[in-house]
Structures are given as C-alpha cells and as structure tokens.
C-alpha cells in the first residue's frame, strides 16, 4: 500500500478569462495522467478551458500561525484604499 499514487492540486481557468483557480486535488501516477483525470473529475460540465496540475508536495504554504505577522500590518494602512480620500463633488469623477 506504500505505492500510493501521488497527490496533485488542480487549478482550472474558467470560461470567462479569469485566472486559474484551485478546484481540488486528485491522485495520479504522473503529470499527464493528472491532467487527464482532472478533466474527468473537475470539468464534466464545461467548467474550464485550461488545466494546471501541481504536485501537492511542491507547494509551499504560509503557516496558519503566521497569519498575524503576515496580514495584520495591512489593517492599519487604510489609506491604500481609494475611499480613504474625500474628493469634493465639484472635482468630478476620479
């Protein structure tokens, strides 16, 4: 049982010109089979126009514990959003 097929993460580009999006994962012996299987498992209803598969163990992820140090600094920088600035109506569309 140690000979389990490796796990692949599957990303699909939808019909509407958006980026590839993670849709799930599957097992396959190699990349080619992973693409074939991804087609059968994740695009049975025309969900995509392009497939990426990535070996799951090749993905480096941020740790849940780092959430604070990584993402909290952005909270205090509200000036990054356009709505922070009040532009008088007279100025018009900006």
């Amino acid at each position: 049982m140690s000979n389990e097929w490796p796990l692949w993460e599957v990303f699909i580009r939808g019909q509407h010109g958006l980026s590839h999006r993670h849709v799930g994962s599957l097992h396959a012996p190699d990349a080619e089979m992973a693409v074939n299987n991804a087609r059968d498992v994740y695009t049975r209803r025309n969900e995509g126009v392009s497939i990426w598969v990535v070996p799951a163990n090749e993905i480096t992820a941020s740790a849940p514990g780092e959430k604070g140090p990584l993402f909290e600094p952005a909270n205090s920088k509200v000036y990054r959003h356009p709505t922070f600035f009040n532009i008088p109506k007279e100025v018009g569309q900006m």
Partner: protein, 330 residues
Amino acid sequence: MYAQEVKSTGKGLKTLEEMDPEERAFQEKIDANIKIEPKEWMPEGYRKTLIRQISQHAHSEIVGQLPEGNWITRAPTLDRKAILLAKVQDEAGHGLYLYCAAETLGISRDQMTEQLLSGKAKYSSIFNYPTLTWADIGAIGWLVDGAAIMNQVPIQRCSFGPYSRAMIRVCKEESFHQRQGYDIMMVLAKGTPEQKEMAQDALNRWWWPSLMMFGPPDAESVHSVQSMAWKIKMNTNDELRQKFVDQTVPQAEYLGLKVPDDDLKWNEEKDGYDFGEIDWGEFYEILKGNGPCNKERLGARQKAWSDGEWFREGLMAYSKKRKARKVAAE
C-alpha cells in the same frame, strides 16, 4: 444519511468556560461562522469525527455506483443509457471530491480504501438493496438522491472548509440526478398498466429504506449534540426526515402512485405529514452487514481493488522509470 453512524469521540458538550484557551478560540471561530482550514489547530475529536463522517460519505458515493451500474447495459433507450452513465460518473466524482477533503485531515486514500474493504468503515445502508427493475433507477434518483440533497444542502455551510467546498460542488451536480429519476418515474407512471405497476413496486420497495437514510431517531443519535456544536451536522435526523416526507408525498401524488404507509396523514397542526413507524431492526441489521446485498457490494469493491493492483503499480513503475531517465539525461 450518507454517514449514518458517525461515532464522535467528544464526551459531552463543554461550555466555553470549561475549554482551554486553544479549544475556546476554536469554538468561538465556529460560532462566528469562520471556516476551519486543514492546517489550523482543531480538537482531536473534531478531526476524528470529521474523518469518519467524510470518509463514510465518500464510500457511500463510490458504493452507490454499484446498484445503478447494474442497469447501464440494460437501460431501455440509448438516451437513458447515456444519462445513467453520466450520473454514475458523477457519483465517482463526488466520491473523489470527498476523499480529497478527508485527506486534508491527515488520513491517506489507501487507508480509507483499506477501511472500506475490511468492513471497518461504513457506507449508507441504502446501497445494500438490490435494483430489480428499471423503475428502481427512477426511484433511486427521485428518492435516494432526493434524500441525499436534503442532507447535503445544509452541509454546504458546515464549519470545515474543504468539506463545505466539496458539498457545494456536489450539490450543484446532484439536482440533475433527482430530476432524471423523477423523469423516469413520470414516463412509467403515464405508461401501460404494467409500467405503472412497475413504478409502484419500486416506490414500495425504496420508500422505507429512503427514510432510514437519515439515520436513527434523534432520541437515539447520541453523537449529534457535539457534531451540531461543531457545525459538522446542521440539522437533526428527524428534522430532515420530516422535511423529506413533506416534500416527497405530493410528488408521489402527482405521479398517481401510493406511498406505502397506511399511517401517512396530513397533520394540519404541525403543518406536515404524520407517518408510520420505521423498522429500525432492519436498519441495524444492514449496518451490521446482513442486508440483501452487503456481501455483493463489498465483494465488488474488493474485486475492483485487487484486479486493479497490477495497473496501479504498473503506471507508478512507468512514472518512476521516466523520471529516472529524465534525471539521467540532465
């Protein structure tokens, strides 16, 4: 439901004050409807219960292909055959989404397969009944998939991210299954007297097993309270069963078929149907492995697994060889 006998390991519900800080933070997240993701801290009981629940659900999808697969080669028309084939393929897909969700909790696919094949892991009682006529394919889509939808729609909102996302995909696809079943029933019900009789016979045989799908009555489902606090179970078994009966009885009437329950009666006061006693003895016998098709179903999965061994290993060996060649060429 598709996971009818999930034993949770929690010992009774703790209050927030009784929890240690980690567990309390976890429960507060759940109470605030924030999804739990795989790498985050979670109580061991939550992890174990979810692994059992999701893997039972996945096994049910996979074993659920067998009763319907029985009719692919015997479907009455080419259209029906293509539709049934697509439906059964969907069930395989649903099993795969769910296995992947369970794997994020730290169990391997092979471990889950092994638990199914050894009989350690359960799958839904409903798939241990035989499909004797073509009308059974209609009844399964209409009733069994109908009951499954009733259960799965609320689980889309469950607390565990991967399970919730898998359920969203499943629910999107499932409604086709129920409609194709009802469509089969409509054609038979409007057909010759023999065809209508066949539809009635299928309803007679699948009605009670469908009600059992929701699991034991609330008074006996001892693990529900913790699962509901964790939001991995969103409604009680009896709530969902009642909803299913209320929804399905008018659909049977439309077909001109009779629900095989003499105690079935509209109850104005509760705004729902009263219905007869379910034979829980039959249900528990099936869970123990003594249903009409338990041996056949498990036997088919075991055979598929061992017949496929050379293929799985062959492809893996080929993949390794190619990789080694590529490295050597570099």
